[in-house]
Symmetry: C2
Amino acid sequence: MTQFSAEEKRGIYRAIYERRDVRSNFLPTPVPDDVLARILDAAHHAPSVGFMQPWDFLVIRDESVRTKVRENFERTNRQAAAIYEGEQRNLYDNLKLGAIMEAPVNLCVTCDHQRTKGAGLGRQTNPSTDLYSTVCAVQNLWLAARAESLGAGWVSILDTESLKATLEIPEHVTLVAYLCIGYVSEFGSQPDLEKRGWEHREELANLIHYDRWNLRQSSASTIPAPLPSDPG
Amino acid sequence: MTQFSAEEKRGIYRAIYERRDVRSNFLPTPVPDDVLARILDAAHHAPSVGFMQPWDFLVIRDESVRTKVRENFERTNRQAAAIYEGEQRNLYDNLKLGAIMEAPVNLCVTCDHQRTKGAGLGRQTNPSTDLYSTVCAVQNLWLAARAESLGAGWVSILDTESLKATLEIPEHVTLVAYLCIGYVSEFGSQPDLEKRGWEHREELANLIHYDRWNLRQSSASTIPAPLPSDPG
C-alpha cells in the first residue's frame, strides 16, 4: 500500500475540480477504442452494493440512432422550457443542453434491477442502492474521461421511456445516464450554468452539520474553509 | 487547458482501482480537519442537475450518536442475515459490514429535494436526478479519500427512518449515504466480497452493447479488453 505521490494526488483533485458537464466545444476527432475501454473499465471498477455490478454500457455511434435521440431531446426540451418565463426563459433558451450529434460517441449507462450478483447483500433496507452503484460508475467514468482530455455531458432532458424504446432496453432495466463523449476544444474554467448566471456555487460551510442536522458548531473542532487550489 | 501528465493520470486511475469499501483495519488516528475539508470540498465539486447542489454533509464524531447508529446497524443486520441459509449464511455472518465505532469519523450525505437552486433545470423528466447528483458527490469524496490514504466504507444495512430520527434529519431530506472514514492499516488488493468468495467481478465485455441493447458487435469497431495496469 504505497501512498500517493504529490503529483498523483494532484491528478485526482485536478480531475475533480476541472471536470465539466460539457455540451459544446466537441471536436469530431474519433475516440480511440483503447481510450473508451479505459474509461469503461474505470466505470466497471465503481463500488457496488454486495458487489452486484448492476450496470451495462451502450456505446452509441450509429447516426440513425443518434438522430432519434436528438429528436427526443429537442421535443423534451421544448416542453421543459415552457415552465420558465421572461428573463429566465431567455437565459434557458440560450443554454446549450444537448450535444448528441456533435459528440462522436454517446454512452448510455443502465441499471439491471434483476441482476442476481451479490445475492441481495445490502439491498434489503434500501432497494435504490443498485441505482446508486450505477451512478458511482458514471462518476468514475466522468473523472477518467477528464484525465483523458475527453469531455462528457450528462443529458437528463430526455423522455426516458421513448429513449428506452429507441435503444431496445428491456422493461426491468432502468436507464440511469445518457452521456455525450468526445474530445473538446476547451474545458471551461467554471461550470457553464455558473458562467451564464443560471446558478452560483454554494459556500461549503453552509452545507456542513456536526453530529446532528443544523448543529453548525462541533464540540470537537470545526472544519476550516478548504483551499482547493492546494490539494496538499 | 493543460493535459494531464502521465503521473497525474496514474493518480486518477490508481484512486479508481485501489479504492476499497473499507469495513476493517481502521486506525484510531484522528483525521485532521484540513484533510476532511479537502474531501468534503471534492464532494461539493460533483456535477449536479441544474447546478442544484442538493447535498448536505453531517460530520459525526460524537460517541453517543455513533453508539445509537451502531445499535441500528446491529439490529438491521440481524434481520438482513435471516434471508441466507447454510453455507451462504456462514459466509454472511463472517463478513465485516460495519465499522461505525472503529472509524474515527462517520459522514452522512443527504439530498434535499426542496432545494431551489438550479430552478428545476433538468429535473422535469426524471425527479431522481437530484439523488444521482448526491451519489456523484459521494463518489468524488470516496476517490479523494483514497488519495489521502483514508479508507471509506458505505454502510447500507441501516434502518433509514430510525437513522434520520437519530440525526434529526428533516422529513423532506433523503439520507443517501452513511460512511465510515479513517486511516487504515491496509487497503486490500481486491474487494472484500471478492476475496471472501461472496461474488466475483464480471468480465467488462459482457456488459458492453453497441448502438442497441444486446448488439454485441459494433459496425464500427469493437472495444478491446482494457489493460487496467497500464492507464496509458
